[in-house]
Amino acid sequence: MDNILKSKKHIVLFVAPAFLVFVIFGLFPIIYNFVLSLYRTDLMSQGVFIGLKNYSNLLHDKIFLMSLRNNLLMVVGSFLAHMPIALFLANLLFHKIKGSSFFQSVFFLPSVVCGVAVGLTWTFIYNSEFGMVNSLLDFLNLAGLKHQWLSDENTVIFAIIVVVMWQYVGYHMVIQLAAMKNIPPSLYEVAAIDGASKWQQFILLTLPLIKPILKVDAILIITGSLKYFDLVFAMTGGGPSHASEVLSTYMYYQGFRTMKYGYASTIGSVLLILCAISIGICNVAFKSEAVEY
C-alpha cells in the first residue's frame, strides 16, 4: 500500500479521473462563464464585447439588487436556524434524552424530501383561502394577521425563508451532532467531576471542540443559501413582480427567458465571487488550532 502511495505515477493515475471531471465540468465552465460575462450575447448571433458594462449595469438593476437583498436575508435566516437552533437541538439529542434517535430521524426527514415536493406542500399551507396558516390564525382569533403570504410582495420572501429554515434544520443538526459524538466521553466525565454545569460543558468543552466542523457547516449554510434555487422556483418562480427573486432564479430568468446569456453569466460570476468571499470570512471567523484528543 505504502509503495503505491509513494509512486508519483500512481498518484497521478488515481487523481486524473476526478481531476478531469473537475476541469471539464467545474473549472472550464467557470472560466467560460467569466468570459461570457464580458459580452452582450444570446449565444446565437455574434456576441458584442462590452467589457465590464454588464457589471456596472447590475448596480443599477433594481431586480438584481432585490435578489441580492433576498439572498442576504436568506443567509441571515438560514444562519439563525441552522446554527443556534440546530446546535440547541443537537445538544439536546447529544445528552441522550428519551427517544433521541427517533427525534434525530424526525428532524432529519424534511431535508430528505425533494425540494419541489416541499415547495408544493408549503404552497398549500400558505394558501390564502384554505391554507393551514390562515386557518390557524382564524382559529386563534387573529384574523387581522392573515395575509396572502405568497402573493404579497412584502411577505413572500419571509414565507419562503421560513420553509428553508424548517427544511434544513435537521440536516445541520445531524452534522453538528456527529461532531459532538466524536468528542471522547472521558472529557465530560472529567468536567463533571470538576463541577462544570451542563451549560459550562457546552460552552467550554463542546463548542471549541466542534469548531472545525462548525466552520465547514457555516460554509455549507452560507453558500447553500446564496445558491438557493429549487424551493423559490417551485413556490413562486421569483414572483410576484420579482419580489421573491434570488440570484440563481434571476440568473435563470435572464438566461433562459430573456436570452441575455452574457448578463446571466455576470450574475453567475457575482454569485461565485460572493460564495468565495463568504468562505474567506468563515475561514477567518472560525480560525482554530487543530485539536488532538
Binding site: 446565437m44 425533494c114 383561502e129 440536516y171
Partner: protein, 447 residues
C-alpha cells in the same frame, strides 16, 4: 468514533444528492411518443434503413387533443413518405418547452421541426440564424399556400421573410354565464362603465363578478392589455411595437387605473392574487363566477359535458372605455411550426409540416382542440360547440387584433409588462409601475 461521523456525513451528502436528483425528475413530464411496439420484423428491418428526424412540440396533459393530432400526423407521415425518413417527436409543458428550446438552440442541437409562438418569441432564433426560412417553400407550392387565410403569416414574418407556418388562431374573450346574467337582469355590457356597473350589481348579490386568477402574472398582463386596447386601440399597440409610444403612455396608465377601479369595487374573487389559472377557471365552471376572461383555448374545458356551466355559455369582447379605440381584442396565430437551420432534410420537414394543414388535421384542430383555424378549411357547424361558433363570430366583428404583448416583446419587456399588471392589480400605483416598466425597457436594451 471518527468512522461514525464519516458515516453520518456521507449519509447527509447522499441525501443531498438524492434531493437534487429528485427535483430534476419531479417536474419532468415529457413524453416520448412513437414507440413502435407492434411492428413486424419485416417492417422493423425496413425502418432500420430509414433516417430518423426529430420534432419538438408544446403539449401537456391538458392539451391531449393537440398531442393526438401530432401523433396522427406523425403516424401518417411515417407510414408513407417519399423521403424514407421517420419522424420522432417529443412534447413538453409550457415552461419546460421554453427552457428546452432556448437551450437546444444555443447549443446547436435543435430538432428538425419545432413548435413556436409568433413574433418576439421566434425573433431571437431567427436573428441568430437558427431558423430555416420556410416562406419560399410555401410560396413554391401554390396548393399549400392557397390553404391559408390572408394575413396569417404576418406575425411569423421578419424583414418580410416567413419563418413559420401557423395552424390555428386564438383570441381572448370574456366568457359569461348566461343564466346568472338573466337571473340578475344583466345585459351584455356595451360600454366599460356598464361592465363596471354589472360587477357592482353581481357583487351586491354575492356572486363573484369576474374570475381573473393572477398567481401567474401573464393573466394579469392579458387583462390589462385588453383594457389598454379599449383605451388606446390599435394606435396604442402599433405605437408600442414601433416604439413611437412609451410604456408610460397615458393610455397604459389610464388602463391601469381602470384595472385598479375594478379591484376596488370587488370585481374579482377573494384571494385572486394567489389563485392559479385552474382554480380561477373552476370558479366559472362551477357557476360561482359570472364572467371569466381567457384565451379561446379554454373553449373545450368550458363546454365539456361534465362542466356545470356548459349549457349557459356566452361570450363578448370587453367593451372599450374610449369609444374611438374601436372594437379591438387580443388574438394571435397559434400552433406555429418551423424548421431549424440544422435540419437534415428540408424537403421532408416541409412535407411533414404541410400535413398539419391537411383537412383532416385542421378539422381535428377545430373539432377536438377548439382552435380557430388559420386555413380556409370549411367546417361542419354541427360538430362544433356552440361556444366555438360564438367566439368565431365575435372574432369576425373585431376591428383589430393585438397579439399578446409578452409574445411580441418576448421575455424581457413582455414579462415585465405582465409583472407591472400584477403589481397594479395588487394595489400598486399605475403611473409608478408604468414608469418603472419604461425604465426597465430602456435599461434592458443595453444588457
Amino acid at each position: 468514533m471518527k468512522r461514525k461521523m464519516i458515516t453520518v456525513l456521507t449519509l447527509a451528502m447522499a441525501a443531498g444528492l438524492a434531493l437534487s436528483g429528485c427535483s430534476k425528475s419531479a417536474d419532468s413530464t415529457s413524453t416520448t411518443a412513437n414507440k413502435e411496439n407492434n411492428q413486424t420484423e419485416a417492417e422493423a428491418a425496413a425502418a432500420e434503413e430509414k433516417k430518423t428526424m426529430t420534432a419538438m412540440f408544446l403539449g401537456s396533459s391538458q392539451d391531449q387533443a393537440v398531442v393526438d393530432i401530432i401523433q396522427a400526423v406523425t403516424d401518417e407521415f411515417n407510414a408513407n413518405n417519399d423521403y424514407n425518413v421517420e419522424f420522432k417527436f417529443e412534447t413538453y409543458e409550457n415552461e419546460q418547452y421554453k427552457t428546452k428550446l432556448a437551450t437546444v438552440m444555443a447549443s446547436n442541437s435543435a430538432p428538425d421541426v419545432f413548435f413556436t409562438w409568433s413574433a418576439g418569441y421566434l425573433q431571437p432564433f431567427v436573428e441568430g440564424g437558427k431558423v430555416y426560412e420556410i416562406g419560399p417553400l410555401v410560396e413554391g407550392d401554390q396548393e399549400w399556400k392557397s390553404r391559408f387565410n390572408e394575413g396569417v403569416f404576418g406575425p411569423v414574418s421578419y424583414d418580410g421573410k416567413v419563418y413559420a407556418v401557423p395552424h390555428g388562431q386564438t383570441v381572448a374573450a370574456m366568457f359569461y354565464n348566461t343564466r346568472i346574467f338573466e337571473e340578475n337582469n344583466l345585459k351584455v355590457p356595451g360600454t366599460f362603465d356598464e361592465l363596471k356597473q354589472s360587477c357592482v350589481t353581481l357583487k351586491e348579490r354575492g356572486i363573484v363578478p369576474i374570475s381573473v386568477p393572477v398567481k401567474d402574472a401573464w393573466i394579469a398582463g392579458q387583462f390589462l392589455q385588453q383594457i389598454a386596447n379599449g383605451a388606446g386601440g390599435m394606435k396604442l399597440f402599433n405605437g408600442t411595437v414601433d416604439s413611437s409610444l412609451k410604456w408610460n403612455d397615458d393610455s397604459y396608465v389610464q388602463a391601469g387605473e381602470l384595472l385598479s377601479e375594478l379591484v376596488e369595487i370587488g370585481a374579482f374573487p377573494d384571494g385572486f392574487l394567489g389563485m392559479t389559472n385552474d382554480e380561477g377557471r373552476d370558479l366559472f365552471i362551477q357557476e360561482k363566477a359570472a364572467m371569466y376572461y381567457m384565451g379561446s383555448w379554454d373553449i373545450g374545458l368550458l363546454s365539456a359535458d361534465d362542466a356545470p356551466v356548459s349549457k349557459n355559455l356566452g361570450v363578448f369582447n370587453i367593451p372599450p372605455s374610449n369609444t374611438s379605440a374601436g372594437n379591438v381584442a387580443i388574438g394571435d396565430v397559434d400552433q406555429c411550426l418551423a424548421i431549424s437551420s440544422n435540419c437534415s432534410n428540408i424537403d421532408a420537414a416541409a412535407a411533414y409540416i404541410k400535413l398539419f394543414s391537411d383537412t383532416a388535421a385542421q378539422e381535428a384542430y377545430a373539432y377536438n382542440a377548439d382552435y380557430l383555424l388559420s386555413t380556409k378549411t370549411s367546417l361542419d357547424e354541427s360538430k362544433l360547440s356552440p361556444l366555438f361558433i360564438e367566439v368565431n363570430n365575435m372574432q369576425q366583428e373585431l376591428s383589430g387584433v393585438t397579439p399578446w404583448l409578452d409574445r411580441v416583446f418576448g421575455a424581457g419587456e413582455g414579462v415585465e409588462f405582465n409583472n407591472a399588471a400584477q403589481a397594479i392589480i395588487a394595489g400598486k400605483d399605475s403611473k409608478e409601475q408604468m414608469d418603472n416598466l419604461q425604465q426597465f425597457a430602456e435599461d434592458n436594451a443595453l444588457r
